[in-house]
């Protein structure tokens, strides 16, 4: 499928702020299931952009605005062609759960098996994960079972949490948004020693006005596979992947600091148009 996406983030400050330094993670991955045709990032007030790849290979743009300003707008425009990842049959059993420890042979996998900023493997999480996967012997099947459990147990409720909500609070209140669904599922998978990472991006089927979040698990021999606990399904060509990390704290679309008031207003709009 082919999409055009416009993603705009605007801050309005109660009084002028200055010395604003920011990191942006809005440029989609370019890989075999997702080809970026064009990408344009605009900053207002105008600022010089630099970019680099971070530790998880995300493209990060940097910019600074020294002069006093009362509004800041970060807008990305992109075109992307997506295709479906190779399908794993719903009943397939590609890798025994008992041998999941071998996933650690790849050194970079280590990060996706640890506690992270918003995710911890507490005894509660571990027990929850064991309940969800009772009787499962295959890694893929276990991951699907965890996804079903998270989808069934958590209630989707807009604005019930913030971007700084920890998975432990989500599990306690049993409600949240896509970010929270992903965090809880990541914690459960890690508790089962299945490597799990966080993905930020867009979901094109939604009449979405914001970004989406889901997760990926590592199935040895097959690689990383995306699962969306919010919608209880594996990802397909309607998902556009922006950035990955241990959890939300590694992938925030816009993050930074500045000098001045904390009194500010934030507006985010995302427009996704399917192209033929």
């Amino acid at each position: 499928m082919r999409f055009e996406i416009t993603h705009r983030t605007s801050y309005t400050y109660a009084s002028p702020v200055r010395d604003s330094f920011n990191e942006v993670r809005l440029q989609p991955f370019n890989n075999h299931v997702q080809v970026v045709e064009s990408f344009l990032l605009k900053i207002l007030p105008a600022a010089r952009l630099r970019h680099r790849h971070d530790f998880y290979s995300n493209v990060v743009h940097h910019f600074e605005i020294i002069e006093p300003h009362s509004t800041l707008t970060v807008e990305s425009q992109l075109r992307v062609i997506t295709s479906n990842p190779p399908v794993i049959a719903p009943a397939a059993e590609p890798w025994p759960l008992a041998r999941i420890g071998e996933a650690l042979r790849e050194p970079r996998v280590f990060d996706f098996l640890q506690d992270s900023h918003f995710v911890e493997m507490s005894p509660e999480v571990w027990r929850f994960a064991l309940d969800a996967t009772a009787g499962q012997t295959d890694t893929w099947q276990a991951a699907l079972a965890v996804m079903r459990m998270v989808h069934a147990e958590l209630k989707y409720e807009s604005n019930s949490t913030s971007v700084h909500t920890h998975a432990r609070d989500v599990l306690r209140d049993k409600r949240g948004v896509c970010q929270d669904f992903a965090h809880v599922m990541i914690g459960m998978c890690r508790a089962l020693k299945i490597p799990a990472l966080y993905v930020s991006g867009y979901l094109a089927t939604e009449s979405a006005s914001a970004t989406h979040a889901w997760m990926e698990v590592l199935i040895p021999g097959l690689g990383w596979r995306g699962l969306d606990p919010t919608h209880n399904r594996p990802v397909d060509e309607t998902y556009i992947k922006l950035a990955v990390g241990r959890d939300y704290s590694d992938v925030a679309p816009v993050a930074g600091n500045y000098k001045g008031t904390t009194d500010r207003k934030l507006e985010v709009s995302v427009k996704i148009t399917p192209l033929s």
Partner: protein, 872 residues
């Protein structure tokens, strides 16, 4: 007869000779029976290796010469030298901040006068081992932040690198000039009973202590000057000269343009003294994060004259605190955008960000293997035996030998662990075992080392105390270089095992001796070098300008407060109850307005009762809890002096310290008499005069001095105007006695008498104190001085509200318009006169001037975090 003149043999140590001579009779009577008190009578060496006495109870060769000298001094002389040592430490203001110490921020540094001596051949072996170790650790860092071959080939476990909070992901892949991550490295060494040296811990992030080692040396080389000379002790200056050269060479713009700064976390840090000391010794600007800014990937220092490019940062801020953008986003100590500037290669940090990684004790168990693998040679300087529980075999060994080992956190994080100094209880052992089994990666265990002992001076003689030696290395073009010396730390009590300065240990100078006379080196330029002459120093950071300004204001506030209180005390004689009150009314009113005597006009009964009033005045001097009391002001002064310590002379610092000490001496148990109090006030005024005089005579007429003086002038103008306005309000304003008091406060009585030779009258007093531009205590004089300063300052910021220059010009004009003779004919309603109006206007103007200065020159603002985008 008095001293050395009659005693030629002892001429070379005059200060100590006299008292030693006096105590001699006692000594000789005692000496008839036993050998005179030997320094060694209390020295009983234990099972540990003793640095001083060999197994045969004879001093080891490297100590022989030093010990001979100490024996010749004898106990009395040693006591004097020990006292001199303490005095020098205090005078130089060497301190160490102890976290959570309620008594005071700074604690004097503990220094034992007896140095730790190391033999030449032994030192050579240590040097080789240390250089090898630093080289090895640097290579490990280069790999972890680069290709990560060691992890891929299983030399290192991923948990050892990725599992550590000190592995900084944003710093991975940054290209570092020369692949030097570890510019500075320090190691803590201990000697086991068999005489071998072991590394107890590696310091790779911010190796501290080299400055203390230098400070110790400067003190001990003075109090033991003769043995220092005779022992051929290696000098430390060469090490610091190499440090300077190495840091200059790091500059991306070339060594000729290198601007090196030292980044400090601020005065609350435990080693802040060392930072100011080293910054000054090495000639670097000491900056805090807020003094620096990043523009277009370059780092700049914010100075009064604008931005100045920074090339090299010698950092004392923990690496994860250095950049709130990419590292810890809650850090207020760092510089946003710094990591990106490093990445772009426009600035070099020493040590490189992330170098804390190999400080983890877990690495120790891998060093022998890694040394063979990376350097192709055996590790010559062993680490204390270490087991990382992340490895199965090691973990099993540790769990079997829990009681024999010391379990520590493997990484920089807090873990609740049993006190290693005590035997473990059964419950503790069970808990510890469970902790290790649950998350083994987080734990290491180390062998208990019996540290060696060395002689320390205690009251009457030498005693053996446990010591640990910290040594320092710097990376130069030609590899690592070791400081020939170090910081020896001493356990606070006999048989002590844990040595930390936080828990009150002492320290020693460390003498590496040579068979032959050593080369003298200093940091001064040699004649052959081309020296660029500089007359200006426009590089004052804005934050320091702010601090100097307030230092000036507070010094004058203390001065004014002391003068007002002294005059009030002298005139409020209980013998003359009631009568004095109206005569000091303007003084009391000024003290009330300035906050020393809060709401006293609401309490007329206080002024009637002479004793109660006197108590109130004493509280205004000594009460530490009363806002605005002289004691509080003195405390503020010292706090501000701490903030500008690297820019002021030691004498200025001492003057203020003494002031603060003097005011805090009286304790609650002592009843203060007003006579004592005036004595204290007199001393306070002399102390402040010394401070202000030192500032005037010793500071170059650069910006630091200018801001100090501006603060002083504004404060003085404010208090004189307040006093003059209060005078005009007083019913008995024309009373000569009242006017005398006013003249006394503004220190103008003598001038007045020499000019008028008659009783004080309102017009004459006001002319002298308000309008006489020759009187350095008049208001007009202050305002004129301020205008002169403004001429010399960099241009004010345009967006700043109200221009300071304009405000001043208007003020001068108004003051020049009035004539004090007007007051003679006003007939009582003096306040309504033109003079009264001008005083009032000036009082309203001065705060605006202060705001204008702050807006133009001290701009700081709080840092906020950009909110992050919301998610569906």
């Amino acid at each position: 007869m008095s001293d050395a003149a009659d005693n030629p043999g002892r001429r070379n140590r005059p200060p100590m000779t006299q008292s030693q001579f006096q105590s001699a009779p006692e000594d000789t009577s005692f000496a008839k029976k036993a050998k005179p008190e030997s320094l060694l009578s209390g020295y009983e060496r234990g099972a540990a290796f003793d640095e001083f006495l060999a197994a045969d109870q004879q001093p080891r060769p490297q100590y022989a010469r030093l010990f001979g000298a100490l024996e010749e001094f004898g106990p009395a002389e040693m006591r004097h030298r020990r006292d001199a040592c303490e005095r020098l430490v205090n005078e130089q203001g060497i301190t160490y901040n102890v976290y959570g110490d309620a008594r005071s921020l700074e604690r004097p540094w503990q220094l034992d006068p007896v140095p730790f001596v190391i033999a030449p051949d032994e030192w050579r072996a240590l040097e080789t081992g240390l250089i090898q170790r630093a080289t090895l650790l640097n290579q490990i860092l280069a790999d972890c932040y680069g290709p990560q071959e060691l992890i891929r080939t299983h030399w290192l476990s991923p948990a050892m690198v990725f599992g550590q909070p000190d592995f900084l992901r944003p710093c991975h892949g940054i290209r570092i000039p020369g692949n030097t991550y570890l510019h500075f490295y320090a190691a803590d060494l201990a000697r086991s009973p068999d005489g071998r040296w072991w590394v107890v811990s590696d310091r790779t992030q911010i190796p501290t202590g080299a400055g203390y080692a230098l400070a110790n040396r400067l003190v001990v080389s003075r109090i033991l000057s003769e043995p220092f000379r005779d022992n051929h002790v290696h000098r430390l200056a060469g090490f610091f000269r190499d440090t300077q050269a190495a840091l200059m060479k790091l500059s991306p713009r070339g060594a000729d343009n290198a601007r090196v700064v030292m980044l400090t976390p601020g005065p609350l840090n435990e080693t802040y003294f060392e930072q100011t000391y080293l910054a000054r010794y090495l000639g670097y600007t000491l900056v805090e994060g807020q003094d620096l800014t990043v523009r277009d990937n370059c780092v700049w220092l914010k100075t009064l004259a604008g931005l100045e490019r920074v090339d090299v940062i010698l950092r004392r801020v923990d690496d994860d605190f250095c950049d709130p953008l990419e590292l810890r986003n809650d850090s207020i100590l760092g510089v946003p955008g710094l990591v990106e500037a490093v990445r772009a290669g426009n600035v070099v940090l020493a040590n490189a960000l992330g170098s804390g990684l190999v400080q983890s004790p877990a690495f120790m168990s891998f060093l022998p293997g890694l040394c063979k693998h990376l350097l192709g040679e055996a590790l010559t300087l062993p680490s204390v035996a270490t087991w990382w529980c992340g490895q199965k075999a090691a973990r099993e060994y540790v769990l079997e030998h829990l009681d024999k080992l010391v379990v520590k956190p493997a990484f920089r994080m807090r873990l609740r662990l049993p006190n290693p100094a005590k035997a473990m209880s059964d419950a503790e052992r069970v808990t510890l075992r469970r902790q290790i089994e649950f998350d083994p990666d987080l734990f290491v265990a180390q062998e208990r080392v019996k540290f060696s002992t060395a002689p320390m001076w205690e009251k009457t003689g030498l005693v053996p105390r446990t010591v640990e030696l910290r040594v320092f290395l710097v990376a130069t073009e030609n590899g690592y270089r070791v400081m020939p010396g170090g910081l020896t730390r001493v356990s606070p009590d006999a048989g002590g095992q844990l040595i930390t300065m936080q828990r009150g240990g002492s320290s020693k100078d460390t003498w590496v001796i040579s068979e032959t006379p050593v080369e003298e080196v200093t940091l001064l330029h040699t004649a052959a070098q081309k020296v660029e002459l500089r007359r200006t120093g426009n590089n004052l950071p804005s934050r320091l300008a702010d601090n100097f300004y307030w230092l000036g204001r507070y010094s004058e506030r203390a001065d004014a407060t002391a003068r007002l209180l002294r005059s009030a005390l002298l005139r409020s004689n209980p013998e003359r109850a009631g009568s004095a009150e109206s005569l000091i009314a303007p003084l009391v009113r000024t003290l009330e307005l300035q906050g020393q005597l809060p709401e006293i006009s609401q309490k007329p009964e206080l002024c009637q009762n002479a004793e109660a009033f006197e108590a109130e005045l004493l509280a205004a001097i000594f009460d530490p809890s009363r806002p605005g009391s002289l004691r509080q002001t003195a405390h503020q002064l010292q706090r501000l002096a701490t903030l500008v310590r690297d820019r002021t002379s030691n004498d200025m610092w001492r003057a203020l310290s003494r002031l603060n000490d003097r005011l805090s001496t009286p304790t609650s148990s002592i009843v203060m008499l007003s006579g004592d109090a005036t004595g204290v006030l007199n001393e306070t005024l002399l102390g402040l005069a010394a401070f202000q005089g030192l500032a005037r005579e010793n500071m170059t007429r650069a910006q630091a001095w200018r801001f100090l003086d501006m603060g002083l002038r504004i404060e003085r103008a404010v208090y004189i105007c307040t006093l003059l306005e209060a005078t005009l309000c007083a019913p008995e304003a024309e009373n000569p006695s009242l006017l005398e008091a006013v003249l006394d406060v503004v220190d103008s009585s003598i001038t007045f008498r020499s000019r008028y030779n008659l009783v004080a009258t309102l017009p004459a007093v006001f002319d002298l104190v308000l309008l006489d531009d020759k009187n350095p205590r008049s208001v007009l004089f202050q305002v004129n001085q301020l205008a002169k300063h403004f001429e010399k300052l960099p241009k004010e910021r345009e967006e700043a509200p109200g221009s300071g220059k304009n405000i001043l010009a208007k003020c001068v004009k108004r003051l020049n318009q009035v004539d004090a003779r007007e007051l003679a004919g006003t007939g009582g309603d003096w306040l309504a006169s033109d003079v009264g109006a001008v005083i009032r206007e000036t009082l309203q103007t001065l705060p605006k001037l202060s705001e204008a200065i702050a807006a133009s020159y001290f701009a700081h603002a709080e840092i906020s975090r950009t909110g992050r985008g919301s998610e569906a």
